[in-house]
Structure formats: C-alpha cells, structure tokens
C-alpha cells in the first residue's frame, strides 16, 4: 500500500491507559469502537478530580462547593454548545445518552405535536434507539410510521425521501452515520427536504460526533442526540440538542426537583429550558468527563481525525477485500470506519470467537438494528475504528479472519 498517514496513532495511544504496558488489556486489538470507545487519561482524571475535590450537588446548597459543582456542570454545557456550534448553551439538554435523548423527544415533543393520521419517517438503517421510540409514539398517537428504505449498497436516496414526505409528515428521524453500514448520511440535505415539506428533522449523531465535524447550525437539524461514551467520554451522559423555540414549546419529560419554578397546590410553572428537561440530580461528574472528552477531540482536531480515519478506512477496505468470501455491507469506498461483514458461511458469532482468541475485539450480531439485520440476511460481524487504531490493528484483523477461514474451511 502506498497510503501515507497524516497522524501517528501511537502518539494517541500514549494518552490512553488501556494501551499502556501495565494494562491488562494492552494486547487487545480494540475494534469495537462503535459500541464504546476507550477513555483517555484526561477524561478519567477529570472525572476522578471532580469526585475527589469538587463533589456537591448542582444548583442547590448555599455553599461554595455547590457553586463550584454548578459552575463545572454549566461549563460542560457551554462546551457542548460550542462543540456543536449551537446558538447558546440553553439549547443543550444533558441526558443519560442518545437513547434517553431520543425518548425524551418522542415522549415530550411527540405526544404534544404528533396527532392521529400524522406521519413520521424513519430510515431502514436506524438503531433501535432511533426506531422504537417512534414506533411506540406512532402506535400511541395513531400516527403512521413510514420507512425510508436503503439502496442495495446501503445508502439513502433523497428522491425516495421526496416521495415519502407529505404535508402530514411531522418528523424525519435519521442517523448521521449508520452503526452497521458506516454510511455517512447527507443530513443537511435531509433536513432541508424535511423543512421544505413542513417537517422537523432529528439527527442521531451517536456514531459521528467523535469522527467528523458536527455543526448543528450548518446542518439546520431541529434535534440532535449523542452519547458521551462513544466519544471518549464517560457512560451515563448524553446530549440532546434542540432549537430553543422547540424546547420552549415542548412539555417536560421527567418531573421532579430542579425543573420547576413554582409549585403550589393550584399552580405549576416549569423552569426555563434546559433545566425544564433535567429533573433530579444530573450526572455531574459524567458531564465534567464529557467536557474533557470534547477537549481531547478538539486538541487533535476534528478535521484531522476525519482525515486520518478516512485514510485508515481506505486501508481497511483494501485489506478486507483481499479476504476470500468476505462480503462487506454498506457503501464502498465512501463511508465511515464501521465495517459490517459476513465471511462465507461462517457465522459471525464464530468469527468473533476466533478473533477473540487472537485478541482482536469485534462485535457480532444484529447490532440493535433488527430490521436492518433482516434486510442484510441476518447477523453480521462488525469491526469499527477510532483515532487510536492503525494499520497494525487492521493487519491483525485480517490475519485472524484468515485463521477463521482455516478452522471453518469446510463449512
């Protein structure tokens, strides 16, 4: 291969305890980044520093520690707003993850604004997190769920969307990057078409925020969701971005402490967004960790990350195509570093086990996207890249795939 690489992944790995010589996991070739990424020291230290030195509840006690915790929590919100290029921090609601963010929209916005006979469009490639909330909402409201089918090479065709949109369409729900196919969807164009038809657009950015620049204003999405843990941050923290006017019009999700201004027996006044959507004690330490994770990403630079991962993806595509009987799903070559494949008649679960004994960590199964799995003909094996992977990791994957073919040669 003649590819030159614009980034040294060894330098990046030095920033992660997972890859250090003393780590129990040091020999693992970690290619399950679409499930969750490893965490850099900077994130682990930020979280542990918070618990050790700044732990207090937010917006509550009349003491300095509480003020400091609130300051850190709100600084994390402002950092997310800047990271996504939102207009203001008030457009950022912290949640437990992508799943909760989308459930919030489906329950609170959906039950208020989606009526019987209305339509919601979801794509065939959605993760259950961006599918089940809409299926349930449609059922509850008597609305219609319309499925935007993928092309045979795993893309979305905008002309197909045009045919699905009607004046009854309230929302188009689409992932930015498919967690199975690696397809990078044209979300700005999708939002534009949705808006032209009078519908809103929700973008599931779980697989994209850590891998390419995401700009909510350039995209002009109405809602966007992502999880900290797939972006080098902690579990238990996620983000819902929504346009301010939408947050104001949307009723609260959970109700309880911290999200209300006036509570009398005869009168309730909710707090302003984003507090209105953050009932109860929020994940404060996790928000601080997310802040550090976004700093980590931007210190490398999202353009640099995208460029390097594109180079590595090109290398991986070339090497995967060398393996006999390997069938790769999704678009080629224009895609993100997520590779779902099958290998002859060898079941993906068996592939993953053989790879695991060679310390190559991938995932097999339906990847929480059962309707897509059905379309692809069942379970698949999936390898997925992050910024610390390099060609050695791809080579180890390829070697292990040859081993699997050797063991199952006659199947």
């Amino acid at each position: 291969m003649t590819t030159t690489f614009t980034l040294d992944a060894r330098e990046i790995r030095r920033q992660f305890p997972f890859f250090q010589p003393h780590s129990e996991m040091r020999s693992v070739v970690y290619l399950d980044n679409a499930a969750t990424t490893q965490k850099p020291y900077a994130v682990i230290e930020a979280v542990s520093n918070f618990w050790a030195h700044h732990n207090a509840n937010v917006h509550r006690g009349g003491h300095g520690a509480g003020a400091k915790a609130s300051e850190l929590y709100e600084a994390a919100r402002a950092r997310v707003a800047q990271f996504l290029n939102a207009r203001e921090p008030a457009e950022i609601v912290f949640t437990r993850g992508t799943t909760e963010a989308i459930n919030l929209v489906a329950s609170s916005w959906g039950e208020a604004f989606v009526k019987a006979g209305d339509e919601i469009i979801v794509t065939e490639m959605e993760h259950h997190a961006n599918l089940l909330p809409w299926m349930r909402l449609a059922e509850k409201q008597g609305a219609h769920l319309k499925v935007w089918r993928i092309t045979d090479d795993g893309r979305l065709n905008l002309d197909d969307l045009e045919r699905l949109l009607t004046e009854r369409t309230r929302l188009v729900a689409v992932s930015h990057i498919s967690n199975v196919l690696g397809t990078v969807n044209p979300v700005a164009a999708i939002c534009q078409r949705a808006h032209a038809a009078g519908a809103l657009c929700l973008v599931d950015a779980a697989q994209s925020v850590a891998h390419l620049p995401v700009d909510v204003r350039a995209t002009d999405c109405d809602f966007l969701a992502f999880s900290g843990h797939k972006a080098y941050g902690p579990t238990g923290i996620g983000v819902l971005y929504a346009k301010r006017a939408l947050l104001e019009a949307t009723p609260p999700y959970h109700v309880g402490g911290g999200m209300v201004q006036i509570v009398r027996w005869d009168r309730l006044v909710w707090a302003e967004p984003p507090a209105k959507f953050e009932a109860g004690t929020p994940p404060i330490g996790e928000a601080v960790g997310l802040h550090a994770a976004l700093d980590f990403i931007d210190a490398i630079g999202r353009d640099a990350i995208e460029r390097y991962e594109r180079e590595l993806t090109a290398y991986a595509l070339e090497r995967l195509q060398e393996v006999p009987d390997l069938r790769l799903h999704g678009p080629i070559p224009d895609r993100a570093g997520i590779f779902a494949f099958s290998l002859g008649e060898i079941h993906p679960h068996d592939i993953a086990t053989v790879l695991d004994t060679r310390d190559v960590a991938i995932r097999s199964g339906l990847h929480c996207a059962h309707p897509l799995g059905e379309r692809l003909g069942g379970a698949t094996a999936r390898a997925s890249l992050a910024i610390y992977n390099d060609t050695q990791h791809i080579d180890a994957l390829i070697d292990a795939l040859h081993e699997a073919r050797r063991i199952f040669g006659r199947v």
Partner: protein, 142 residues
Amino acid sequence: MTTLNELYQEIILDHYRQPRGRGELEPPKITQEGFNPSCGDEVILDLRARDGRIEDIRFRGRGCSISQASASMLTEAMQGKTLDEARALIQQVLALVKGEAEGDLDTLGDIAALAGVRHFPVRVKCATLAWHALDEALEQLG
C-alpha cells in the same frame, strides 16, 4: 488442545455441517422457539411425546455453529428418552457448558464435546439455547 480447538472440535463442526434431526413434525406436536435477540441465533424445536416418552423431536433454525450443532446433538440424544431422563440430561448439559459438570462424561457421547464452551462465557448462551427451549417445551407438557 488449544481452547479454540477444544471449542471447535471436529464433532461439533460435523454436527454443524451435517445436522441430525433437522426438520419439522406433523401435528400433533409441541413447538417451542428459542431466540437470542443480541445475536439472532434461533432454534425451533418440534416435539411429540407419548406415554411419558419423547417419540420424535426435530429442530429448525439458524445461527452460529455452537447453537446449531448443540441443537443437532440434542435431537439425537433425546429420541426415545423418558421425560424424566430428558429433564436430567438437560441439567447435565447445562452444568457441562458452564464448567460445573461432575462425574463421567463418557455416557454423554457426542454431547461431551460441548464441554469446550466452558472457556468461552459469551458462547454459553449459544450452547444452551436448544436445551432451554426443550426445558420450556417439557414444561408445556406438564
């Protein structure tokens, strides 16, 4: 033997490639499905019992080598067993794949090859799928 060779023993690969007892039964029968939502492994058992014995048993399904080989072995081992023998064998196999088996494995025949699964905790569900389905089918029988 490496743990990988122990898992993918020739006996297992042979049951996977040439499954025994594959198919469906005509009614009267009991049908029980086993499904693993995370990986999509599926085993559907058809069972006919008469006079306290399994008269015939067949499986359909799709999935990994372990789940399908295990179902194949199950149908072979269960033909003609009394319901009590069947229940006892299920318990024995569940213990075997979890590495909790005691005593003589020789009586198990081909099934003993499933012992290799004990080194692979994530694969225990594959190996037990058909056996749990049979357990539920026997419960239907009461």
